[in-house]
Symmetry: C2
Subunit: 139 residues, 2 copies
DNA sequence: CTGCATGCAAACCGTTTGCATCCCC
DNA sequence: GGGGATGCAAACGGTTTGCATGCAG
């Protein structure tokens, strides 16, 4: 048999979803991405976006971020890095805190699980939300 | 006015939900907890469980874990500690890796957010799932 | 021609909410 | 008696899925 053809086809939809995701640093949700993609492919279905994001995540082409909040978010940068989520507006940004690979080692010692990876999520309030909170004393 | 009465009443339902949650180390989902509570209060409604878990989380009596996976999980231990989630069966356990408070400091330097906290989640395969995988080479 | 991929819409599942009733203060 | 809490069921929002059609290889 020849070169494995089990790699999925790069259809127009897949290409554009990937392009739009790579364009932004904001880790959009599926429906945010849907809106972005729809500007270029008005007839695409939301199901197609979900299906392909799922597929690409399985293939390691993108990251599915299972962070807090109600919706899943997607990330075109696949190497491990940490995130910060605004507890007020829900936005998720990258944060430039060095990845602590030593964590994996410690986790291996501390647990009987077979460790696969780790993720750090900071919680905070983004500058924009901070600004609109001058009269609030709830933190 | 006298002592603030804005603390909610400790109804039977609330007490039992809290007790059942404190009993286990497994960070149950709302409906797992519902099943546990129902053994003692057969007529309790799922809505009541959700409502009270939400309330208790707001009051800092319990933790709402916004970890990966589709369902939220709850934790009666409120001090910061890290978790590990089995990517196969979805179970979430505590993991005894020391909390890196220095993270908060680094995050403050690295970001323009007002940092509130952080959470570390390890991913792995739990011993039980490892066992039922002898013939699998997918990792 | 054949099969994978798509668009569409309905189903699904976890969670939230409206409302009538209940119960504690 | 009054206000919060409950049980119940319906609504909700995000995600998944079934199916007929479309399109690339």
């Amino acid at each position: 048999m020849n070169a494995p053809t089990n790699m999925f086809r790069l259809t127009t939809q897949r290409q554009i979803i990937l392009e739009e995701l790579a364009k932004v640093r904001t880790h959009p949700t599926a429906s945010e991405l849907y809106d972005m993609v729809r500007k270029r492919l008005p007839r695409i279905g939301l199901g197609t976006v979900y299906r392909n994001l799922e597929l690409m995540a399985e293939n390691g082409m993108i990251l599915k971020l299972e962070v807090g909040g109600t919706q899943k978010r997607f990330d075109a940068t696949t190497d491990n890095h940490y995130h910060i989520r605004c507890t007020t507006c829900g936005k998720v940004d990258d944060i430039d805190v060095p990845v602590a690979d030593s964590f994996i080692e410690k986790a291996g010692e501390a647990s009987s699980y077979h460790i696969l990876g780790h993720h750090v999520e900071f919680a905070g309030i983004c500058p924009r939300c901070l600004n609109s909170r001058r009269t609030d004393s709830s933190y």
